[in-house]
Symmetry: C2
Subunit: 397 residues, 2 copies
């Protein structure tokens, strides 16, 4: 038994404190990891990082990998070691964790509203090399400018344009120009360019349909960049793209920064996308799993596992048993999932541990405190090589 | 700005450390609470606790309130102050947090499989007055017995029977008797009764249909209790029931312990249930909210708020704007929700803070680190009276 599991502060030495409440210890065999646990296949993860770096090595774009996926400065630093310029994230509290973890360059790829949040963001500008945010309203602009002035810093700002997602952002074209001018005019803000992310296009299954949608995104973005340029406003950053479309924005000649995040882990939802040749989107490998134990075996064709809503999100479909034909995960409740077994050669038995591929990696990661990093996950002797905290888990504000 | 928000360990005194990463400070006005935040309406919460205590005061049942809902020993102690006999929970790591927080009597209302988990549970038996678990298999029995023997303790055990939920549990009747006998025969296990929870019945909307389902649950449970009794096995605990059906089990004459949890908070999903008279299930009030800020206002009929999948679960339907007619929460993404506005008299404006009723309280609570406890939430001067940690958040194993 892990001493960390005894959970009593009096029994802990420093190492145990650091790993408090982790479901594993470094050096442990995978079979001894407690469940449910969030597991990284380090080999696949490292291949995914390298594949993204290679894929854009010859393109006129930088990678600003999205930390909303992993919430870990440890992972951002690995992405930067392979060429990423920094991180983006969605919340000021995520930016705080990234900067504290040593990330020098952080864009909050989101609007920040509220003097308290903006004061915290402005404070970060003194601690990091580059801190930016997105703006899509006069109020957002005024509040950011005031916070930056109060802190005697300059905040970098992108104008977010709505390029099809129908969420935040001003319309492309003149509304973006108007806002960009006002940003450029303020001494405590630096206009840096555009945020042009089309989130809902990422998961369009058919490659042609996905490309048609992103072609419109690229056209609207190009038009806006050119309009700003004619008016003396250069866009150093034109940011957007996700794992589902990054090659399109990379080839656009307009986008300068890619904000893909999920490529490092590759969830079950992204695996449903298709490539241009109609084949499955297999550029990246599944590198994130929820390790779970069969805790009840009430019927021959039914197994209950110890992973439910609280350990694997279902907003983009069910988690899927990895490499187990005939076994499906269904009917999750808060702490349980039911596996139905149809014609499996090797049905999971009581006490067996198995791997689930999360339906959606970002909200699944956000449920866990620790990444259990395993070397040789699918080999004969998988071992826990490291434990990384999900450092910005719960950093919502 | 909250000093805690500066987030730098060097700046923290002890109080700030305790409240690190909390979106509020004690004494703060609600309007100054950062968002998204998990808010308890203390007045409604206390009324809900009292209503449950009153509702079962004259019934031959005890309340063993479910801590899976709130994950907080602070809340369990309040439930016990009003008569609850203790807590139930779903995970050993939750039981550890409850015992460490002073709860003397904890049932893991779930199967526990795995020597590591069971060793931890057995260790708790030395620290608390009463520790129990559920068993539905020979393997579960053997592992629990071995862990208890190793720790030189006696673990209390219930046999779980499947009373309609189709999840864990042996069938009612003879299979339960067989398992109960084996438990009773083992010197390190104490047979205490039956776990007979029908989870999926809780949310059947129509009262008559719900009752018909629970009538079957009660009949199967009674038959099993009587069979065990004939065979010399007394059931001190016959546990089950949730917020949707507790009155039925309370009146059954068979159940001795109710495991309701959600009644303290009352989510949007439970509010869709109907009472016997066809009216809405309003025995309990909404006492849990996600406080969120309008962070973008891209169109007259659309507002984007800063609460998405990572702050409010959607497995049982969308969170709902509280007391705002014509305003609907839709299209959540990880960090955003889109409000559509149709004919509202007072549409939410940029920067406004508003309350969402969670679709499902348990997995929503599990996303947050802190309860922001507000007195007079719907009055003129709502104030943060306390901050309670969601102490067992992330206690999955």
């Amino acid at each position: 038994m892990s001493r960390a599991h005894k959970g009593l502060p009096g029994n802990m030495d420093k190492t145990e404190k650091i790993h408090a409440n982790a479901p594993a210890e470094i050096g442990m065999a995978l079979k001894d990891v407690d469940t449910p646990a969030l597991v990284i296949d380090l080999d696949a993860f490292e291949r995914n990082l390298a594949r993204m770096a290679d894929a854009i090595a010859d393109k006129p774009v930088r990678l600003r990998a999205h930390a909303k996926t992993h919430k870990s400065p440890t992972i951002t630093m690995r992405q930067m070691a392979l060429g990423a310029v920094g991180a983006c994230c969605q919340k000021v509290s995520e930016a705080e964790v990234l900067v504290r973890g040593g990330v020098p360059d952080v864009l909050v790829s989101n609007e920040v509203i509220g003097p308290g949040k903006l004061a915290r963001l402005a404070a970060l500008a003194d601690q990091a090399e580059w801190i930016g945010l997105c703006i899509d309203s006069e109020l957002g602009l005024e509040q950011a400018a005031e916070a930056a002035a109060d802190a005697e810093v300059v905040l970098n700002a992108l104008v977010e344009i709505d390029v099809g997602a129908g969420r935040c952002g001003v319309p492309p074209g003149r509304p973006a120009l108007q806002l960009a001018r006002k940003i450029a005019d303020h001494p405590n803000l630096r206009f840096c360019g555009l945020q042009a992310y089309h989130g809902s296009a990422q998961h369009i299954r058919d490659h042609g349909e996905r490309k048609a949608e992103i072609d419109k995104t690229i056209a609207a973005t190009r038009e806006t960049v050119e309009l700003l340029q004619k008016n003396g406003l250069a866009c150093d950053i034109v940011g957007g793209a996700g794992t589902g479309t990054f090659e399109m924005e990379a080839d656009s000649g307009v986008f300068t920064e890619l904000q893909a995040g999920s490529y490092i882990f590759m969830d079950a939802d992204y695996a449903r996308n298709r490539k241009a040749d109609g084949g499955p989107f297999d550029t990246f490998e599944h590198a994130l799993f929820v390790l779970t134990t069969v805790m009840s075996r009430p019927e021959p064709d039914k197994a209950v596992v110890d992973a439910g809503h609280k350990t694997a999100s279902v907003d983009s479909g069910m988690p899927q048993p990895f490499s187990m034909s005939g076994v499906n995960y269904q009917k999750p409740s808060d702490e349980h999932g039911v596996l139905t077994i149809e014609g499996s050669n090797k049905p999971p038995e009581l006490g067996d541990k198995l791997l689930l591929v999360p339906g959606h990696c970002d909200p699944t990661v956000n449920l866990h405190d620790w990444y259990v990093c395993v070397r040789g996950l699918h080999g004969e002797n998988p071992k826990v090589e490291d434990l990384w905290p999900v450092a910005a888990r719960g950093s919502h504000f």
